[in-house]
């Protein structure tokens, strides 16, 4: 059942938000079919390059939705203007909640330094550029064939998270360019990076020995999108918590919303921010909406709204959790650290604050990817990658690494290898070889 907001509600929500000090860019909202929203969630962008792995994600999303394990109300994209896609399956109360939620997101992305920095690099029209790139990939596919385009996309998307967020999106080319084939026999400048290069996509796009322009274009496109997604990844708890805090607050203040609608909306809010729990009131995962919402309420109550806005501007999830998830909050939320032993049983380990912080943050470090960097290019053009196992605490998943090296070898077109350690801590080299043409 599709139900648009009654006339004037959106303007009143926006006025209310301005009165409360929310200062987001204007939001362009579109009501779209639930099926399309599902696609946006699977692809990450409304129109994105085609790849079979998105089909897998789409299938997972579809299955989750059919099983009632996920419900998509909206997806929002930062920019100027921000774009929000609302499901046409939402009722009036849900749309009221979602509108307020989106205004909260818009305020967050306007304030937060990481979002501002990323948007300054990627520009405002990311969605349009992504759609244009999708068309270019389609054209490449019809021109060069599905196999070749997929080979590049396999490698690019597999290494999607391997960018260097400390470096700018548009980097100067400080490493000597690769030799033209005619000069292969002669002396040549060494293309190896001076120091380990964690921005794999950039290095491969710049220095792969036999990459064509359209292939480079795809690699750089995936890299640019990764820069755009980084703040969403790095501020998930803060961002969702902030939007949840504001939708609850704006709904409370919205005297134009009739009580039955308010009741429905606030019930919907409590579904969104409720903690996961099983019959024994235990949950082995945490709901980021719940954690963020509770933390922001706590911060606003303790330090006031101005302090909360300062935190919102300056922190990402790492700082937010480490600095502001304190003992009192951890106890209030009943947080603990658990581990699954070799016997398969999961046990509570402790309730130490530091351990809780690090366990929440561990999956988000380094864009959720292992610390792998390019350390050298051999005389034969072979590429050496090194995994910093000491930093990550353990080695790579070897079978996955084997497959990724296979993808990489197909576009590097020379042997590639990653140095890591196995589960005993012994050095292992996982190599990929380019298939003969």
């Amino acid at each position: 059942m599709s139900a648009a907001l009654p006339a004037g509600w959106r303007a009143r929500f926006e006025r209310l938000a301005r009165d409360q000090g929310l200062e987001g860019d204007p939001v362009d909202m579109a009501l779209v079919p639930a099926s399309f929203l599902l696609e946006i969630a699977a692809y990450g962008l409304p129109v994105r390059m085609p790849h079979w792995s998105f089909g897998v994600r789409y299938l997972h999303q579809l299955a989750h939705q059919h099983m009632g394990r996920s419900h998509l109300f909206e997806v929002m994209f930062p920019g100027d203007p921000c774009r929000a896609y609302l499901s046409d399956a939402n009722g009036v109360a849900e749309n009221a909640l979602v509108t307020a939620h989106v205004l909260g997101h818009a305020d967050f992305v306007k304030r937060n330094a990481l979002f501002r920095h990323a948007l300054a690099m990627t520009g405002d029209r990311v969605l349009e550029r992504s759609a244009a790139r999708a068309r270019r990939v389609e054209r490449a596919r019809s021109r060069f064939g599905q196999q070749r385009v997929e080979a590049v996309l396999d490698a690019a998307l597999a290494l999607e998270a391997h960018i260097d967020v400390r470096k700018p999106l548009h980097r100067p080319d400080h490493v000597p360019a690769p030799r033209p084939p005619a000069m292969l026999a002669g002396p040549c400048p060494d293309p190896s990076p001076a120091e380990p290069e964690p921005d794999l996509l950039w290095f491969i796009a710049r220095h792969a020995p036999a990459l064509e322009d359209w292939e480079r274009d795809i690699l750089l496109a995936v890299r640019e999108e990764a820069y755009y997604f980084y703040p969403v990844h790095a501020c998930r708890v803060m961002n969702e918590g902030w939007a949840s805090y504001w939708h609850a607050r704006l709904l409370r203040e919205a005297d134009f919303v009739p009580p039955p609608c308010y009741l429905h909306a606030i019930k919907c809010h409590s579904d969104v921010v409720s903690p996961y729990a099983d019959a024994t009131a235990h949950a082995l995962t945490i709901n980021p909406y719940h954690l963020g919402f509770v933390m922001w309420e706590h911060i606003v109550a303790r330090d006031g709204l101005d302090a909360a806005r300062r935190i919102c501007a300056e922190e990402d999830d790492t700082g937010f959790i480490r600095n502001h998830l304190d003992r009192q909050l951890a106890d209030q939320l009943g947080l603990f650290v658990h581990a699954t032993g070799g016997d398969g049983a999961t046990r509570m380990v402790n309730r130490e604050l530091h351990a809780i912080h690090e366990a929440i943050l561990a999956p988000t470090y380094n864009y959720g990817a292992p610390s792998v960097a390019i350390t050298g290019v051999g005389a034969d053009g072979s590429l050496a990658l090194t995994h910093d196992a000491r930093r990550d605490g353990r080695g790579l998943d070897l079978s996955q690494a084997q497959q990724v090296m296979g993808y990489l070898a197909r576009i590097w077109r020379r042997p590639v290898a990653v140095h890591t350690v196995d589960f005993r801590g012994r050095p292992r080299v996982v190599a990929g070889h380019a298939a003969p043409a």
Binding site: A158, P275, T285, G368
Partner: protein, 382 residues
């Protein structure tokens, strides 16, 4: 409030569904590459065709560099209790990973596929080599084809739309007429027309002599079994003849053929002559497509060499294709066998002869691929 996109372009097609289909294609391709190994075991013929095989599906997700999963990794949860409390007993993993399943979804999937469906899937890519165009085959088949409409016919063939249209036309010129009249009725007509069909006779010849070990016989029978199952799926007008020989040759019913075991020496010419006799008796050979697949360990009595050569030569004149599959006991032989030499000689004369080897169960599909994937050029040699 949010506006609905006036163009509604996203309702026209689904990118997700398109990429999902592409993923399915990849999955099918990967499965097809993997299936021969799954179902080539020599026990395939003795098993129930409805039996389900548990096939590990190929990796469904895009691989990424990730840290190895080890026991003792920490994750966060919430709830009451003390350190050391058991939260989930061993073996109760419901598939949700500790990080909330943020990854693309684990790809460890096993598919239950009936052996029957599996053979179907593999046979999609196979065809009989050098099948002559139907025009050259004289065998005809009656076929029912549509042949317009008529005012008479059986009730089940009544075409309501045309009948209604006739009634409307009639009432346009006869206002106030009956809603329907007998003359309005229109029935779809079918006629029986003879149609030339591509028919083929396929001879399966097995060397059942004592020199063939039990393992070799099973391999050969597996080959014949899978070939017959697959060919039947593809071609409706196939006639199979099953011949086994030792120093004599006999024709067997299909079921008995797969149970046959023999004793005694090897005189291959008897089987070839029997195949020729069967072709003559049934009028096959001159008019039809005919194929012969022979499985043997390659040995033949030296005295039979000339006779076998002549019989094979005569057969090749009448066959579209002769497939020879040689069973290899354990280790490869140093010298070419008698049959290999004969086939190579025939191939050298430009006859349509193909050769394959069966050493292990895995070779069954390789052998099938040799014969059935693409029409091999005449004179293919081992």
């Amino acid at each position: 409030m949010a506006h609905a996109d006036p163009t509604g372009w996203y309702q026209l097609f689904s990118r997700g569904a398109r990429d999902w289909l592409r993923h399915n294609d990849k999955l099918r391709q990967a499965l097809r590459e993997q299936l021969p190994d799954e179902c080539a075991g020599p026990d395939a013929i003795t098993s129930d065709l409805r039996r389900m095989l548990r096939v590990p599906a190929p990796q469904l997700t895009l691989a990424r560099l990730r840290l190895a999963e080890t026991a003792g990794q920490l994750a966060v949860g919430h709830g009451p209790g003390q350190a050391g409390a058991l939260l989930r007993p061993a073996g109760a993993d419901d598939g949700r990973s500790a990080d909330g399943g943020g990854r693309d979804g684990a790809g460890r999937v096993r598919l239950d596929i009936a052996l029957d469906d599996l053979i179907d899937c593999l046979w999609e890519q196979y065809q009989l080599p050098d099948l002559r165009a139907p025009g050259t085959a004289l065998r005809t088949d009656a076929e029912l084809v549509r042949d317009g409409w008529d005012q008479r016919g059986t009730r089940s063939r009544l075409d309501r739309r045309r009948t209604l249209r006739q009634a409307l036309k009639r009432r346009a010129v006869q206002p106030g007429g009956a809603p329907f009249a007998t003359g309005d009725l229109r029935y779809r007509q079918l006629v029986r027309r003879p149609r030339a069909t591509g028919a083929a006779a396929v001879f399966f010849v097995l060397d059942a002599s004592a020199s063939m070990t039990e393992a070799e016989r099973r391999l050969a029978k597996t080959f014949f079994f899978v070939a017959s199952r697959g060919l039947r799926r593809h071609y409706h007008r196939l006639e199979f003849r099953f011949i086994a020989h030792t120093s004599h040759a006999w024709e067997f019913a299909e079921h008995d053929f797969f149970q046959v075991s023999g004793d005694g020496g090897t005189v291959a010419s008897t089987a070839f002559e029997l195949a020729l006799a069967l072709m003559d008796a049934h009028g096959a050979g001159h008019r039809d497509n005919s194929y012969l697949f022979y499985a043997s360990d390659g040995d033949n009595f030296p005295e039979d060499r000339t006779r076998a050569e002549q019989a094979l030569g005569a057969l090749c004149d009448r066959l579209n294709y002769l497939g020879y599959v040689e069973t290899v006991p354990g280790m490869p032989r140093a010298a070419a066998t008698e049959m290999t030499r004969l086939c190579a000689q025939l191939a050298g004369q430009g006859r349509a002869v193909g050769c394959g080897r069966l050493a292990t169960g895995d070779d069954v599909w390789h052998a099938l691929r040799t014969f059935f994937v693409a029409p091999p050029a005449a004179g293919a040699a081992m």
